[in-house]
């Protein structure tokens, strides 16, 4: 794709980089008019990322490795920075890592947000981020054999399951508390989302002093699967299945990453339909989370009412896409289902109903004393922590940062759908709930406007060719934050590399700081306020560090305590 230099948004970042770090930038490659990949000398990587992050208003969206030995003999690492302060664009900092030494300098000591990504690169590629403070495994299980790096091209077949090397958990949980603490485990499944995760809360009495967690119990190896078994279009349906709630967002991110890489554009009508479906998805997701928030503060009637109304948004999805989940609607080049007149009329009717009904329910929820009591000042995400860890979605918007991919970067039909990004300064659970409430009504407006402005024309672009080894980013704002996908085409009708980052991946590292200083009974609420996307906690392990004792509490008991806050199971 040839782009004229004038239309390139964010070229001054590259110019400034060249000026500030002379002879560091080795290569500059533009994927779209606001996406640039700069290859820098590997030793300058931390300085370059830090400078773009803190000095230029960048946020670290995702970082990943790539086994590019067949292309140029080396591995590569990519740090994707979303530049959001002055000029909004994407700068991807890339460095080649020598296939012999496997070493590259860790960025984490300078930009804490890089910690999970670098740990994952260690697990998946066996590359060594020199200076990485946390060298524990992140993605691979404890019983995975040493020296087997699944995403290396020559490592293993996707169907292979290596024999477990250990029968016990060997993961060391980190506790930064100075004094003595008790150890409260929360897991193996998460409280609200019915997904596995092991939380270890270090408590002094009822107060959480520190927290650590182990996740990825349900790592499905999707990236490996996509690279080895599926064709380009089939991965679209796989990406739908990344999440049970924001599936459509993932497939929009995936398809637009391939579209960007190939330099093709889905027709305007398809783009607008994508935006519309994305907002429909947000409706039911936000209602789910607001409903759960009611449940966790003990307002169960509210929970039932929100879920009753949520059913309307599910019916809306069924009406528009043929299934209660907005799955299977995307293809590379556009969408598969048009919106016809009957659907348009029915959609507008449901939107009006939702607006009145939810407005009433929200009014009641806010008037409920439980809500303020249980959520105000709870689980505060400090502004500095937020800046350091690049969290996304209502979590960061509840902490006063105006970050929303829909407004920051162009994708789907959002260029024609301007809206105000809703921001609150409280940083607590309440702010996050209220941000979601406001966004819910925004979504209703956006759906109406999208129907009104729906361009005419085809909905699917066909007949394009795939060029090998082209890559680009694709992104979409899911209800819980942005999904970022990076795809590189291969030479065998399959992806060479697919990196898919769900929003919760960016939110987990900050959770530790949000839990500190709160009480044990608030923990489920705080975790739920992330609207996390992993799996549910059926029971909780409480570990008493002082007494060297651990006990397991049934989930129902823990949940009951979270709501009633009487008869502590800790005693």
């Amino acid at each position: 794709m040839t782009l004229s230099t004038e239309t390139r948004i964010g070229r001054h970042y590259v110019e400034a980089l060249r000026e500030r770090f002379p002879s560091t930038v080795l290569e500059e490659e533009w994927q779209t008019d606001d996406q640039v990949t700069v290859t820098v000398k590997v030793n300058a990587l931390p300085e370059v990322v830090e400078w773009l992050y803190y000095q230029q208003g960048g946020w670290l969206s995702v970082l990943f490795g790539n086994d590019e030995r067949q292309l140029h003999g080396n591995y590569a690492v990519y740090y994707v920075l979303s530049m959001e302060e002055t000029v909004k664009s994407w700068v991807v900092v890339r460095a080649q890592v020598d296939a012999g030494t496997l070493e590259f300098p860790s960025v984490t000591p300078r930009v804490p947000a890089a910690v999970w990504g670098e740990r994952e690169i260690r697990d998946m590629y066996g590359l060594i981020p020199v200076g990485l403070p946390d060298e524990r495994r992140l993605v691979l299980p404890d019983d995975w054999p040493d020296g087997l790096y699944p995403l290396r091209k020559d490592a293993m077949d996707y169907r292979e399951r290596p024999a477990p090397t250990t029968a016990v958990e060997t993961y060391p949980f980190v506790n930064d508390a100075r004094g003595e603490t008790r150890d409260v485990g929360l897991g193996p499944l998460h409280i609200t989302s019915d997904e596995p995760g092991h939380f270890r809360l270090f408590v002094d009495g009822e107060t959480i002093v520190d927290a650590d967690y182990r996740l990825f119990y349900v790592h499905r190896g999707m990236e490996k699967l996509a690279e080895t078994r599926m064709g380009y279009d089939e991965v679209t349906f796989l990406s739908d299945r990344v999440c049970g709630i924001c599936g459509f967002t993932h497939s929009v991110a995936y398809t637009s990453s391939v579209e960007n890489a190939l330099g093709i554009k889905a027709p305007p009508r398809a783009q607008m339909i994508r935006s519309l479906f994305l907002e429909v998805e947000r409706l039911h997701s936000h209602l789910l989370n607001i409903g759960l928030a009611s449940h966790f503060v003990g307002f169960d009637t509210g929970f039932m009412q929100f879920f009753r109304v949520r059913e309307k948004s599910m019916t809306l999805a069924e009406l528009l896409t043929g299934a209660r989940k907005t799955y299977g609607m995307n293809l590379i080049g556009g969408v598969r289902r048009d919106i016809l007149k009957d659907q348009r009329i029915a959609t507008l009717k449901v939107v009006r109903e939702l607006r009145t009904e939810v407005a009433q329910l929200v009014e009641m929820l806010i008037e409920t004393p439980n809500l303020a009591q249980r959520t105000q000042g709870i689980g505060i995400l400090d502004r500095k922590v937020a800046r350091d860890f690049s969290p996304v979605g209502p979590l960061i918007r509840g902490s006063g940062f105006k970050r929303d991919i829909r407004a920051d970067h162009h994708y789907a039909g959002y260029a024609q759908l301007p809206f105000d990004v809703k921001v609150l300064d409280g940083g607590d659970v309440q702010s996050r709930v209220l941000v979601r409430v406001k966004e819910f009504f925004d979504s209703l407006d956006l759906i109406e406007r999208a129907l009104e402005l729906m361009p005419e024309g085809p909905i699917l672009l066909e007949g394009f060719d795939y060029t090998p080894h082209r890559f680009a980013l694709g992104f979409a704002e899911a209800p819980r934050g942005e999904d970022i996908h990076w795809s590189m085409t291969g030479d065998n009708q399959k992806l060479f590399r697919w990196r898919c980052r769900a929003p919760t991946y960016a939110n987990w590292p900050a959770l530790r700081y949000m839990l500190r200083g709160n009480t044990v009974s608030d923990a489920p609420l705080i975790v739920a306020s992330l609207d996390p996307c992993y799996s549910c906690t059926d029971r909780v392990t409480l570990v008493d560090v002082k007494k060297r004792k651990s006990s397991t509490i049934a989930y129902t008991e823990f949940e009951r305590y979270g709501r009633e806050r009487k008869h502590s199971p800790l005693k």
Partner: protein
């Protein structure tokens, strides 16, 4: 609190009567794929398009058959099969009650006869597919008789066709098959 009670009373019963009453679904609902083996030509387009590998096809050379199979347990109801099917042999229905007591009931199979290659006698393509291809040619304007005359050609496997189209070296005179540049 009063408002809440009012809402609750006004709503009445929110629970639907299903399964004691039928549950209506939206038009265009994507449910269980309905398959019509009489329409199917066993071309395999759906098995290639299926992202979940719910559709597959297996060839038995000894029996000279090809078996199409749908495993509902893997189906994600995306309707890609419906989209790529050239003969409308498969389409998604509004049916969503798919629970079975026996896993084997989730499989659906159809077996097709393959035509043996006229030259090497190896079965190579479903008979129905060959007939369909010939019918398509007639439909696109060729004379029915002319197409029928070519049947032997259509019933020859691609490999044999390649062999047949290589000129016999005894009859080959240089110059006939060379281009201007002299390269073959």
């Amino acid at each position: 609190m009063f408002k809440l009670l009012k809402t609750v009373i006004k709503t009445g019963e929110a629970t639907v009567r299903y399964p004691f009453a039928p549950l209506p679904v939206s038009p265009g609902f994507r449910g269980k794929p309905e398959y019509d083996p009489t329409q199917c030509i066993a071309c395999g387009a759906c098995t290639i398009a299926c992202p979940a590998n719910a559709l597959s096809m297996a060839t038995d050379v000894e029996q000279g058959t090809r078996t199409w199979e749908l495993f509902l347990g893997r189906c994600i109801f995306c309707a890609r099969c419906e989209e790529v099917c050239p003969t409308r042999a498969i389409a998604l229905s509004p049916e969503f009650e798919l629970a079975v007591g026996n896993k084997a009931d989730l499989y659906q199979r159809a077996t097709f006869t393959l035509t043996a290659c006229r030259s090497c006698q190896r079965p190579f393509a479903p008979s129905k597919e060959i007939d369909y291809a010939m019918a398509l040619l007639v439909h696109s304007g060729l004379e029915a008789d002319a197409v029928a005359e070519q049947r032997a050609h259509f019933e020859t496997c691609p490999e044999c066709k390649r062999h047949q189209s290589i000129p016999d070296s005894d009859k080959l005179t240089l110059g006939q098959t060379t281009t201007k540049g002299g390269a073959l």
